[in-house]
């Protein structure tokens, strides 16, 4: 064919000799720099944006995809949008709302990572002839010198560390994952973005759950599950005395103080949500302390379930510094965590993630505090 007949993009020819890797591009600064670092290593990088499209009102999802497309153009890499909106609604958004209505406080980001980024995107990568997926997560993967198994480790930048959201990853997935930012400080990442002239260098960070951009979870739950709302119920103390009324348990999370509308001599907090009786149970600060937690759907990064109790530092929410505890594996993927010292606001629906130093051992979902 002659040169005038075929359009030639910035992408150039596929080079069979270079290793192919898929970079998840969100349109944000982290994933942009992660992709750029791969390009610098002379890998054949394919940028993919997951279009999860959130709730219908979230118009910025498309703007993010446009940002990602511009980053890909800038880096001279191929770019595709993977449309997963239907699956995301069924597998993340809906369960998020159902968790709230069942008295739990969910973290949808874990399922989003485990399934969408490291299962479906990895599948897509393999259809593209790429064996690996890279993301802009702040986490590290390396090989345990003793066992030769892969380890998931906290990021060098502890403030940005995202391992709490990645605890469900197993050996097979870690073998296929790259976290190019795991060894970098956030400021260095921003500096690299500016150096590279990336349009997203100074984009503000997203903190909230992506499909609830205004942070109003109760309103989001009502929009997602309008047919399943339990309605108003009683606020009771630990002895079952009725202290007031609440507009629906999905407005509350364990440890919450605001929004109860109660006047008491000492501050009252949400101690427990009783979905069965549609009740919010309140108590004083010391009532929030838990000696332990029962976990379900426990997974171990090594793929090996320990046959006896394990000592670890356990984080019971993303911003939790961690508490020393023993973890005793039980049948059917369950475990019981016993804290050395009581831990405040151990909340059903959140994850308990186990660390040995900066190594993630595994984690599970808090079914109840003990």
């Amino acid at each position: 064919m002659s040169a005038d007949q075929q359009p030639s993009g910035a992408v150039g020819r596929a080079d069979a000799k270079r290793e192919r890797v898929v970079a998840a591009l969100s349109g944000g600064v982290d994933s942009s720099v992660a992709a750029a670092l791969l390009v610098e290593r002379d890998l054949e990088v394919i940028g993919v944006t997951l279009n999860l499209a959130g709730v219908a009102s979230r118009c910025c999802a498309l703007a993010d995809a446009d940002d990602a497309r511009r980053v890909a153009d800038h880096l001279g890499i191929r770019f595709y949008v993977a449309n997963y909106a239907e699956r995301f609604r069924a597998e993340v958004i809906r369960p998020f709302a159902e968790d709230y209505l069942s008295g739990r406080t969910p973290i949808p980001c874990v399922a989003c990572n485990s399934r969408f980024k490291f299962e479906y995107l990895l599948e897509r990568a393999r259809v593209f002839g790429a064996d690996r997926v890279a993301t802009g997560h702040y986490a590290r993967v390396d090989v345990d010198p003793d066992t030769a198994r892969l380890r998931l480790r906290r990021a060098v930048d502890r403030r940005k560390d995202q391992t709490y959201f990645l605890f469900e990853l197993g050996q097979e997935q870690l073998a296929a994952i790259e976290f190019p930012l795991g060894g970098l400080e956030k400021e260095a990442v921003r500096a690299r973005a500016r150096e590279l002239g990336l349009a997203t260098a100074d984009k503000p960070e997203s903190q909230e759950i992506c499909f609830v951009p205004d942070g109003d979870y109760a309103k989001a739950v009502e929009a997602i599950c309008p047919e399943a709302l339990p309605g108003a119920g009683e606020i009771v103390d630990r002895e079952g005395r009725v202290l007031g009324l609440h507009p629906g348990i999905h407005h509350f999370t364990v440890g919450q103080r605001k929004g109860l509308g109660l006047s008491a001599e000492r501050p009252l907090y949400v101690a427990r949500l009783d979905a069965g009786r549609n009740r919010v149970v309140v108590g004083e600060a010391e009532d929030l302390n838990a000696k332990g937690a029962r976990l379900e759907r426990v997974s171990w990064v090594s793929g090996v379930v320990p046959n006896r109790a394990v000592r670890a530092t356990v984080r019971v929410r993303h911003r939790h510094v961690g508490a020393s505890a023993s973890i005793e594996p039980r049948a059917e993927g369950q475990a019981v965590v016993s804290f050395d010292e009581p831990v405040r606001s151990v909340t059903p629906g959140q994850a308990a993630v186990f660390y040995a130093g900066d190594v993630v051992l595994g984690g599970g979902w808090i079914a109840e505090s003990l």
């Binding site: 007949q5 075929q6 020819r13 596929a14 997963y84 909106a85 897509r124 259809v127 593209f128």
Partner: protein, 382 residues
């Protein structure tokens, strides 16, 4: 290697077209409406292109109205034609497999009170002229039918439909965007009143097309503001693009028999190869009444969107009829109209052959495809 098999989306410019356009861009800057030397030169260039279009499809030069492409031509045919009958909403006949640039004006006419009968197709994507005839009412003001389907390449029996529409004395619009330059069209033999075409579908430039408007049909211009195109389309002519369109028509007229033979041979080589190498495939649309260059295939159990991307990574450009709508993949309306399930429609790809393709490219595509299809079938998340 890049193998471009998406010529129904758009096609590369032929060298001759580029050279003719460059001659205009460099040498002819006049406004065709001006009465001086420069203006006359531009007018002559536009008129020559008009003659080339007319010659390709067997009409008088005076019936050629240049537009900014087929979308404008379709909008003008429907909205202009019917806008001329202000206040008298009536009835229209069209089909369930029209291009969005016909479907969207039809929908806005419906909002203005018009009634539209959309005649359905069979599982091969074909319309039945008798059903078109049966849909015509006393109030029917226009019949509008796509000649060649952009997704499946299926050719409607336009000659038979034209005969029944003409017999009822109703104006007939044909969207021939995908047909012109790919199959012989002779309007001396087929009574069509309005016909839309687009240059970039047959190696001309983007952003230029025609509405062929026979005889003395009265319609309102959609773009108002000047005396150009006999007052039917305001705006200074895009002379270079129009000249490019004219040259594309000249090449098409010259090469059509050879082009049809070559494209059909490559298309058949591709289909034979796919059938031999990939299990669980089926062809969408009639294999007999179809453009020589188009092949639409359902790959059972594979997501078309994913397959399209995977093929692009390997250097092969194809298309899926599906569109992304708010993050979800909407299956092709054309395939749904042919009775396919949403899943079947989502698993379908369009291959469209054109200038620059050769057997070596088809064989390369066939060497890549089976493996990619198999791997896409295993990706349950897609």
């Amino acid at each position: 290697m890049r193998v471009y098999l998406d010529h129904n989306a758009t096609s590369p410019l032929r060298d001759e077209v580029v050279e003719a356009m460059l001659r205009v861009l460099r040498g002819i800057h006049g406004n065709p409406s001006s009465a001086h030397e420069e203006g006359r030169a531009a007018r002559a260039a536009v008129d020559r292109a008009r003659a080339s279009v007319a010659s390709l499809i067997g009409i008088e030069s005076g019936d050629v109205l240049f537009t900014g492409g087929a979308t404008e031509a379709n909008n003008t045919a429907l909205l202009g034609m019917l806008g001329a009958r202000a206040g008298a909403a009536g009835h229209l006949v069209s089909s369930t497999v029209e291009h969005p640039s016909v479907e969207a004006p039809l929908a806005s006419l419906e909002r203005a009170g018009w009634r539209v009968t959309r005649v359905g197709v069979d599982s091969d994507g074909l319309l039945d002229a008798a059903q078109i005839e049966a849909a015509i009412e006393a109030e029917t003001a226009l019949v509008s039918i796509l000649w060649a389907n952009n997704e499946t390449g299926v050719l409607q029996p336009i000659e038979r439909i034209a005969a029944v529409v003409r017999a009822r004395g109703i104006p007939f619009h044909v969207d021939a965007t995908q047909a012109v330059g790919k199959i012989p069209i002779d309007l001396r033999k087929i009574p069509v009143d309005l016909l839309s075409l687009s240059a970039h579908k047959f190696n001309g430039p983007k952003g230029v097309g025609c509405l062929i408007a026979r005889g003395d049909l009265v319609f309102e211009s959609v773009l108002r503001g000047g005396p150009q195109e006999r007052g039917r389309r305001g705006g200074t002519e895009n002379v270079a693009a129009i000249v490019g369109l004219g040259v594309a028509c000249e090449i098409a007229e010259r090469e059509l028999p050879e082009r049809m033979r070559d494209y059909a041979a490559l298309r058949d080589r591709l289909w034979d190869g796919i059938r031999a190498k990939v299990p669980r495939v089926r062809r969408n649309g009639s294999a007999d009444s179809v453009l020589p260059n188009t092949l639409n295939v359902e790959f059972d159990g594979a997501a078309g969107e994913l397959l399209l991307q995977a093929l692009d990574v390997e250097g092969i450009a194809v298309s899926s009829g599906a569109a992304c709508h708010s993050g979800s993949i909407e299956p092709s309306k054309v395939l749904i109209a042919m009775g396919r399930s949403p899943e079947q429609a989502r698993g379908s790809l369009r291959f469209s052959i054109g200038h620059g393709n050769d057997a070596e490219q088809i064989d390369y595509a066939l060497s890549v495809l089976p493996d990619r299809v198999e791997s896409a079938r295993q990706a349950v998340g897609a």
